[in-house]
Symmetry: C4
Subunit: 230 residues, 4 copies
């Protein structure tokens, strides 16, 4: 894929974030990696969506050096590249401050699996990365945000939950490309909204039984999946 | 009615779901039965609404065999056909994951009748089908979902509540045809939203007195109805 | 004013309800009285807004007899005419099932005055008419709804609160004409939403101090008002 | 800047308030000061946004005398001019009754800093000006509203929180010009909404740790800022 094609896909994924009403002003950014070339295309920092153009998209390498582009890349670039370096399966990353997902992040608790809507996309709960220590904040903050995310997954595959909330901050989502990471950002916001409503209606509700989580996740994922078209 | 006409009605009812903003991406599906021909037209599995065409609608028989169509029918098809087989009065079925109705389903409690908005359409509470046993989950899951719904009605007519929520999952609604089942899905979402607001504002509120339920339900339904035009 | 002009004003006020998103399907109706002719123009029963035409508006007298029109008037007509007969100042009445106002009605409590947004339009709380007795429900239900509303005002002028919620049911609003009653329906919904948010955030919050209620209400109403243009 | 240019900027900022859905009917007003000429352009009182024209904008001096314009200025003009007189850094002021910010004002509590979304724009909590004493209400009410706002900041710079809520009333925001004050009004509403959701989900949640507030505020503000483009 040429840089121009890569930039166009990232541009369109960023505009989709705006169209789906997940961002206010310049909040949010989407990136995509070209694994063959080891470069990442990402939104420039602080540019409003209505002014964004394909050529504004910045190309960086995995050590965050600018390869092509005249603007500064997103201030969250180091979080994106950290995730790409650690998780070789993922091809796109999205960061938003979408309302309900951010409320859960501010509440500093993982989103429990309360229904099949979540189980269709996530195998169990949506993890919450810990509040960062003062020492790490004073270090390389955006890089450490990536590290906090990877740490909270432990042995769990990032494919089992293509989304995370970072305590006191906001969500990150990922997928095979930029478009799919935006798709997961939209789903996370809707899942977070349903979970908020459920918990405020019945604070004592327990997580969905494992049998239903298995059934719904596995009818869409893995070798026995039977949802959708071939 | 020809298959083409049946597919057009089902297509339009599915698009209405999207237009009324009851679905995110591919969530949700609508079907309609032709009782004379014993066939059901239903949305194909996993096709986004913006790509859906009339000819994508799949025709199946009541044992879920494809009669016409090149795509897989909705993965929820067996739930739809179960309801058509058990309830001879109904002509259309809608399944959504609409936000507030799904929150009640995740809370695993029936929606009490708290006001005349609900009583205008439902005679009493909106039932909540039980969380499925592990045994049934491992059996024919979508068929068992239909069975759980019918069981939770017991001796109650499905006409008295053209809507149900399935615990841990989401709502199903029905009506004389596909369009009417979508109409009930829209009403359920609005009723569920009002009930959520009422219960979070005053958790101790009791159900509406029976005299008002009778008055509102019966001024719209049955032999003494006087609402609307002749 | 000719019947045609009266019907046009009522038609436009009904369409404004729909445009302001206060109604789902056929919920809601607006009327206006011509005091000189002692006739009321009102929405027909059960006609969807997208199909409504000026000539569908029904003219009735104050005893609910049809004066002009081929459709049945709203099933709530007797509530409207009761209010016009009892309160000679009002010229228009709106009934909706708008979401937040209906949630307060279902909670069966008056909306306390929690801020100046409410005090700008209502002098104190927004009253809640009582749940109707079984005897009255079995009598002339829609007429009794009007009576319940007037009773809950007691000696208070309907100008001090151009809006009421009816317990277990929904709101009614009024004003000098149909358009102004719709204006008050829009304000009520926004006020009810703010009050819901305030009470769920701080359940113990007390009503706004009387000095602020006086200041805000009286800077917009009465002889010393100084808001707006001359 | 000519009066015409000043009026155009204020007109456009007022229309942006409406476009961003922060106002219902005539709620809300925006102003901008020309420090060189010591005049303020402000929305006229009670004019609906759909009728507003550039030439309707009123020019007043800092003692609230009309300098140019045939309409009455906003009834809140004295609050705006008070802020301009006290705080020489600010160039634009916005007043709204936006829903979530007003709910916090009605709850009469400062909005705690619960996440980095707030810390990106506000250094700590968003203050809540006290409920006004009866004596001050009976004095020059709108002037005293300005005084209450300035008092609640104490030694804190208005740049550290370009937004405030006034107990029992609603928010005011400011910035280097009218457009920036509207920008802050939009951000405040979104921040207030997230804070509402967080507090109703987890009432016991504490404020974000100071290290994260510092990091996010200072990466956007001050000499070491690195967000956005040069």
């Amino acid at each position: 894929m040429s840089y121009t094609e890569l930039k166009r896909e990232v541009y369109e994924a960023n505009m989709e974030l705006d169209k789906r009403k997940l961002v206010t002003y310049t909040f949010g950014n989407v990136s995509q990696i070209d694994r063959a070339k080891s470069v990442v295309a990402i939104k420039p920092s602080g540019v409003p969506y209505e002014d964004l153009k394909v050529d504004d998209i910045v190309i960086v390498d995995l050590e965050n050096n600018i390869v092509e582009g005249s603007l500064n890349p997103s201030s969250d670039t180091k979080t994106h590249t950290y995730l790409y370096r650690e998780w070789s399966d993922i091809g796109g990353v999205t960061h938003t401050h979408s309302t309900y997902a951010t409320a859960w992040a501010q509440a500093q608790i993982a989103i429990p699996c309360l229904g099949t809507t979540q189980a269709d996309y996530v195998y169990g709960e949506i993890p919450c990365a810990a509040v960062m220590s003062d020492e790490r904040i004073k270090g390389d903050y955006e890089e450490e945000t990536g590290a906090q995310i990877v740490e909270c997954f432990g042995d769990r595959s990032p494919n089992e939950s293509p989304m995370v909330i970072v305590a006191g901050h906001a969500p990150f989502t990922w997928g095979k490309d930029a478009a799919k990471s935006v798709y997961h950002a939209v789903l996370l916001e809707e899942i977070a909204r349903m979970a908020y409503l459920t918990k405020t209606l019945t604070p004592e509700i327990a997580a969905l039984k494992q049998g239903l989580v298995d059934k719904h996740y596995l009818r869409k994922h893995g070798k026995d999946a039977y949802y959708g078209q071939k």
